[in-house]
């Protein structure tokens, strides 16, 4: 017995450690898998030598026979208390226990059952798992709601006993009456019945949410206006549950039906108001976050998510912006951006809140969404992002301002032409080009004609000349010809780069009158000039 008790003691320490690990690490962590496997091996060794493990459970100790084999007074980490507090008084693990059973048993022990929202205790979890080789004895006395209810009820029910004369009467009647066949009976259950039952049970395993959804709609139409808030509260709980449990299709179906009522002019105004509240709830941060997670995990398809977002109001914008920064997949981000582009049209201000986000990629995505929306009222918000510390954000902002033809941002764009980053300068130039106003054009010309322009990289210079080509007017044409004909004594290579850019721009402008100059340039011994002139000629003559 001493040896057995020692082995049990060691085994229980192992189980306590395993439980601790399972509580710390996620289930798929290799540490967990190994600890559980090792513990199972140890349990098997114990069971092999001792047949079974039978423990009596006290509040703070576990006994093997009468020998304490585990003791703890810790409140949180106490195996004995874990069983004791829910009424388990004896526990037996039998030799044939499988690893799967053991793993499930340990998972149950590791659960945090002290949370108020958890509706199961350890006995329920073990009962539901219905272990084949783990048995336990439960003391149900502590479940009693009222100590003396049974005594009172029994006393009341038996107070007035059956009277002698009543039985006599029954007896007399019985003597006089004809023998009466019993009215109930046994009905044969046929194979057909059984097949129908199998089908019933199969059908019963289908998702119950659509049925609930239908009932709630009935409930809504049966409700009095003062009951709408209560009914909406149920809808909210149901919707939250559906999304939280990954049943996104059902959640969307529910919203689809309700949205139909919301849009129906025959729907009473009070009901519409309540429905509006429900859509606002559907747009709230916790729900939006859960939906976003489903989208990210591929549990909510893009089409379904877009439909879901379609039922939401502008209240969802803030929530979706938060989610946007947390998504991991590109597909999910694309879908959410589409949703935000639709919702953002209703409230640019709410969307602009996202421009204050600390994460550069969120800000860039929001600017992109503004580009998608294409509403000029966004210019004010966008102008604030032109000086963003991240280069990618600055570029996106400049692109957006250009696309919105933001004349009021011309000065800012002009400043951006001096940005330390070449890509930003080019983007600013393109934006100015798109705006196309005389002020914008003047800034681009000023930049191109400035002395420092010569020193820029060829690719950047080319970008600027591309912008100039976009003007395609006489002033620009003359400027380009002048540039081609320019003679240089100093920085000859740089000047030739400039000439190549001018040739490139003339090609883009498709000006036939420039062909003579370009053919001449093609004869140049400078390979860069010759190639660019040839390309421009081809573009003008053949459009390629």
């Amino acid at each position: 017995m001493q040896q057995e008790a020692r082995e049990a003691q060691e085994l229980l320490q192992t189980l306590a450690r395993t439980r601790k690990n399972l509580r710390i690490y996620p289930e798929n962590n290799p540490v967990c898998a190994k600890t559980v496997a090792d513990a199972f091996k140890r349990l098997q060794e114990y069971l092999h030598s001792n047949g079974e493990l039978h423990l009596k459970i006290r509040q703070n100790e576990l006994l093997l026979g009468d020998a304490p084999v585990y003791r703890s007074t810790d409140r949180d980490d106490n195996l004995a208390m874990l069983f004791f507090k829910d009424g388990i008084r004896e526990l037996t693990i039998r030799e044939a226990i499988t690893e799967e059973e053991f793993r499930d048993f340990m998972k149950i022990l590791a659960q945090d059952l002290d949370r108020e929202d958890v509706e199961d205790d350890i006995v329920t979890l073990m009962w539901e798992r219905d272990f084949e080789h783990i048995r336990y004895v439960v003391d149900e006395n502590f479940l009693l709601e009222e100590d003396d209810y049974q005594d009172r009820a029994v006393k009341q029910a038996t107070e007035e006993g059956t009277q002698e004369e009543d039985l006599k009467k029954a007896y007399q009647d019985a003597l006089q009456m004809e023998a009466r066949p019993p009215q109930g009976g046994i009905v044969p259950i046929t194979e057909q019945d059984l097949n129908a039952l199998v089908k019933e049970i199969e059908r019963d395993s289908q998702d119950k949410f659509p049925r609930l959804s239908g009932i709630l709609v009935d409930l809504l139409f049966d409700a009095l206006p003062q009951e709408y808030p209560d009914v909406m509260n149920i809808f909210q709980n149901a919707l939250e549950y559906a999304i939280a449990s990954g049943n996104f299709a059902s959640a969307v179906h529910m919203l689809r039906v309700l949205h139909g009522f919301y849009q129906d002019e025959a729907t009473p105004p009070e009901m519409r108001k309540s429905l509006r509240g429900l859509f606002a709830f559907a747009s709230s941060p916790p729900l939006a976050k859960m939906a976003g997670t489903l989208l990210d995990e591929g549990k909510a398809g893009a089409e379904l998510f877009s439909e879901y977002a379609g039922y939401l109001g502008k209240e969802a914008i803030g929530s979706f912006i938060t989610v946007l920064g947390e998504l991991r997949t590109i597909e999910a981000r694309k879908t959410l951006i589409e949703a935000l582009a639709r919702l953002g049209q209703e409230d640019l201000e709410a969307l602009a809140q996202g421009l204050r986000d600390q994460r550069w990629y969120v800000v860039r995505n929001i600017i992109y969404i503004f580009r998608r929306i294409g509403d000029r009222r966004a210019v004010g918000y966008l102008m604030k992002t032109v000086h963003h510390p991240d280069v990618r954000v600055r570029m996106e902002a400049l692109r957006a301002l250009g696309e919105l033809r933001a004349q009021e941002a011309v000065a800012l764009l002009g400043q951006a032409l001096e940005d330390p980053e070449a890509a930003v300068r080019s983007t600013a130039a393109r934006a100015l080009g798109r705006i196309g106003s005389p002020e914008a054009k003047a800034l681009v010309f000023a930049k191109v004609t400035a002395k420092e322009f010569l020193n820029l990289q060829f690719s950047e210079k080319k970008e600027f000349f591309e912008v100039l080509a976009g003007y395609n007017d006489e002033e620009t044409y003359e400027f380009l010809l002048r540039t081609i004909k320019k003679r240089a004594l100093l920085k000859r290579a740089k000047v030739q780069e400039l000439k190549a850019c001018a040739a490139y721009a003339l090609g883009l402008m498709k000006r036939k009158e420039a062909l003579a100059v370009l053919h001449k340039l093609r004869e140049s011994k400078n390979r860069l000039l010759s190639e660019y002139a040839y390309a421009a000629i081809r573009r003008i003559e053949y459009g390629t």
């Binding site: 044939a96 219905d130 479940l143 709601e145 049974q150 009215q183 109930g184 019933e200 119950k208 009914v231």
Partner: protein, 468 residues
């Protein structure tokens, strides 16, 4: 035993029981030497020898309503229900509780077993005859049906009573708490229902007997618990899993939870309801959904409970109340609860319907409602569950003694368990006594039989006195 190491034998266990049922069924139709019987015997023997090879021997035991193979309960799905039910009845009909198959089992041994098994019911003592006939067969041993020892039965009775009254007390507490806007302890509800499921699986009669007692003050709370018990019992007949039975028991317990919104003066009104009062009462399914969602966090059980709270008064043909916009079939649990609800309601003395019906009259009326109000398929199982003589029926024996039915007998539906309450002259017995109607005299005739049944509601027989 250790046969379930890899889960292979877990599958085989239900196949063993099923195949044995197939053999007996086939042998009842054909001669035991028929080729169909022989081939099913061969299959059985080969299956069993594999198990014997792994475990040394195989013991099939019937305890309560369950088969155990080498001490592990045999779990089965609904496809096997008919054969499991059949074999259980056949075992019980012969008072056979245990068959032990030993090493070296041959098809000839099984042929011998089948012949003895089929002959046994025609003998005065079926089990003795079976046991005697199998003496020459060395590889098969049989044991009688284990009777629960008096002390153990006393313990179970105590547990049943405690569980039942605890459930009623809980149900009362739920109503009070909901009215006061307090939180309901769902963990406790689950534990209570789990206990009810366990008791129904072990000793169905005792807990069903508790539902037959109707003279309590707190009708509403007893009704909720009774409906839960009857629903679980019916669910068990349908072959629902233990987990599903728990969910069914939970939702049935809360099916009338919407009644908390009915003003007490209406709910407890001793006379007939006015139209307006009926209108209020008929709102309780609507309030039920609200109450369920208020009571607990949302999960699959909440959804089911809300569905049942809403649908339990909607009839099979979609009449009843509330009127529904959808025409889809009612939920399975709603249809089960609806049957249990009607049966308990009819056999109870309610505030607005003082005179209860006798169980057999209620059943008879329900049979008339089959197809219109009640699901015909489920009703078949319910009728079989309640039997010819439902628990709580008052019967007259051929000895001229009056008796109260206190338990059904699936193997002999016309021979339920009874408690004799008068002597042959109709005098009340101070110490009522249990009688086994399956016992036979040395001439092979039943010692006692039921000759008539009486409408118990006409005689103020207090069932609590006999069944508690």
């Amino acid at each position: 035993m250790a046969p379930e190491k890899d889960g292979q034998i877990g599958v085989a266990a239900k196949d063993v029981v099923n195949q044995l049922a197939v053999i007996i069924r086939t042998a009842q139709i054909h001669n035991p030497t028929n080729v169909a019987v022989l081939s099913s015997i061969e299959k059985f023997v080969s299956m069993l020898n594999r198990l014997i090879w792994e475990a040394g021997s195989v013991e099939l035991e019937l305890v309560g309503d369950y088969f155990y193979l080498n001490e592990d309960r045999v779990r089965f799905s609904v496809e096997y229900l008919l054969n499991f039910d059949f074999l259980q009845r056949e075992f019980k009909g012969r008072s056979l509780g245990r068959v032990h198959f030993l090493c070296g089992l041959k098809p000839e041994d099984m042929q011998h077993f089948v012949a003895a098994f089929l002959a046994a019911p025609h003998r005065p003592d079926p089990f003795e005859s079976l046991s005697h006939a199998l003496e020459p067969v060395k590889c098969i041993e049989v044991g009688g049906l284990r009777r629960i020892a008096e002390e153990a039965e006393h313990d179970i009775r105590r547990t049943v009573k405690r569980t039942y009254f605890n459930a009623v007390s809980f149900s009362k507490g739920v109503m009070k708490k909901l009215r006061a806007g307090e939180k309901v302890n769902i963990r406790r509800a689950k534990r209570i229902v789990e206990s009810m499921v366990d008791l129904l699986l072990q000793q169905e009669d005792l807990l069903l007997g508790m539902t037959a007692i109707k003279n309590y003050d707190d009708y509403t709370f007893h009704h909720s618990v009774n409906v839960s018990i009857l629903s679980i019992a019916l669910g068990q007949r349908l072959g629902l899993s233990k987990r599903a039975l728990m969910e069914l028991g939970m939702v049935a317990l809360f099916h009338d939870i919407g009644k908390t919104e009915i003003p007490p003066e209406v709910l407890n009104k001793p006379s007939n309801f006015t139209d307006e009062e009926w209108r209020i009462v008929r709102r309780h399914p609507f309030w039920g959904v609200k109450a369920v969602f208020k009571m607990k966090g949302v999960d699959a059980t909440t959804i089911r409970a809300a569905i049942v709270a809403y649908e339990h008064h909607i009839h099979h043909d979609k009449t009843g109340y509330p009127r529904v916009r959808r025409l889809s079939d009612l939920d399975l649990f709603s249809r089960i609860v609806s049957i249990a609800d009607q049966y308990d309601g009819m056999t109870s003395s309610r505030v607005y319907a003082r005179v209860p019906m006798s169980p057999d009259r209620a059943l008879s009326l329900m049979m008339k409602r089959t197809g219109s109000q009640l699901d015909p398929l489920l009703m078949k199982f319910f009728i079989n569950m309640v039997g010819f003589y439902p628990v709580g029926s008052l019967v007259v024996l051929d000895s001229k003694e009056l008796a109260v039915v206190c338990g059904t007998n699936p193997a002999h539906p016309l021979r339920p368990k009874v408690l004799i309450i008068t002597d042959p002259r109709g005098n009340k017995l101070q110490e009522p006594r249990m009688a086994d109607l399956t016992l036979k005299n040395p001439q092979g005739e039943y010692s006692l039989s039921i000759v008539k049944s009486l409408d118990i509601t006409r005689y103020r027989v207090n069932l609590a006195e006999y069944l508690l």
